[in-house]
């Protein structure tokens, strides 16, 4: 299926005129970052042509609320030119790999004034027709907590504790009953049976279900005694 698609696209490329060969540029949609941190804005492109030596990348920046954009980065002829006069002087670094169609830049030490839209435009001669892609940068003082995270956490913890307490309670009851039962079976002497009965006697009947269990245990032991 994939090979069929590839063949069909190659055939179409030969037949169809050049305006369908457009370069497609990919950046993120929105990026969130903390004040003072660094962020990597990625930009890559897709082109039907091989990556040429004259490939160019350029980044422009438009602050929030402004209508003008300013050019902050340009890569051409194998050399990267970073902003040395504008708002990002000494804070911009080229971390991309043009040979691999990656034109990403690194913004260091973010400020609140860096909120805005960054547009990446890449050209791969002769494939130069394409639409630039924009990524929006949002700088936060602290990362906002998503709605419902704390709610779910509190509910989950309390319900989990409840389930844990109920399980432990029934487990303890089960173990205590089992321990009493196995003790009277393993040691055959009357003394041991009286000892286990004495242990059951002074137990406070605070819980009616515990009283029930103790009563049924007593009945079982009495019936066993009678049988003997």
């Amino acid at each position: 299926m994939l090979t069929f698609l590839a063949l069909a696209s190659v055939v179409l490329l030969g037949i169809v005129p050049e305006q369908s060969q457009a370069i497609v540029i990919y950046t993120g949609w929105e990026r969130h970052a903390l004040l003072g941190s660094d962020i990597r804005l990625s930009c890559s492109f897709f082109s039907w042509r091989w990556t040429s030596e004259d490939v160019t990348f350029s980044w422009t920046y438009r602050p929030d609320g402004s209508r003008d954009s300013i050019s902050i980065f340009h890569y051409t002829g194998g050399v990267a030119y970073v902003d040395n006069k504008g708002p990002f002087r000494d804070r911009l670094e080229f971390v991309g790999n043009p040979g691999r169609r990656d034109g990403s830049i690194l913004l260091k030490n973010l400020e609140f004034s860096d909120n805005g839209t960054f547009t990446c435009d890449a050209k791969n001669p002769p494939d130069i027709v394409g639409r630039p892609s924009s990524v929006r940068l949002l700088v936060f003082e602290k990362v906002p907590i998503q709605a419902g995270v704390i709610t779910g956490a509190i509910i989950g913890v309390v319900l989990g504790l409840l389930v844990l307490i109920v399980v432990i309670y029934y487990l303890m009851r089960f173990l205590v009953a089992r321990r009493v039962f196995s003790l009277s079976v393993s040691k055959h002497g009357k003394k041991k049976k009286e000892g286990s009965q004495q242990r059951q006697g002074p137990a406070p009947p605070a819980d009616p279900s515990k009283v029930k269990a103790a009563a049924s245990e007593k009945k079982k032991q009495e019936s066993r005694k009678d049988k003997k």
Binding site: G148, I154, S209
Partner: protein, 156 residues
Amino acid sequence: MLLILLGVLILHLIILILLFVSTAASAWSVGGVRSTDLWYNCMTTSEGYHCKPASSDDWIQAVQALMILSLLFCFFSLIAFVFQLFKLVKGGRFFFTAIFQILASVFVMCGAIIYTVMSPEDQTITHFGYAYVLAWVAFPLCLISGLIYIVLRKKE
């Protein structure tokens, strides 16, 4: 005996309904055309009724969690009451029912207190809404109901 049982059950159902309305309705703070918390922040304009999700601050999420937990615990205590009604030994106390009901009342109290202390100071919000009042009404009723369950014994 049957009358007491019926009365206690009706009180429990009333508390459950109060908690449910208080948790579900988004009317903890109101003011003129706005009505906000716990879930939605709504405004009535000339065009209609616009709602956006309430702010996701830590304390609002805590109040949401506490109200939902109190509702769940009140519901569990109702189930425990019905269960213990049929399975309890003669002369026994409604232990589990009382525990869950008292926990539910504690959760409502905590939620209402947190909301009272941290509620936002906004010019358009003038006073507390009916859902907030219902939460404060449900708290003492729930506590009284829990205490009744502690005192109540299964007779006959």
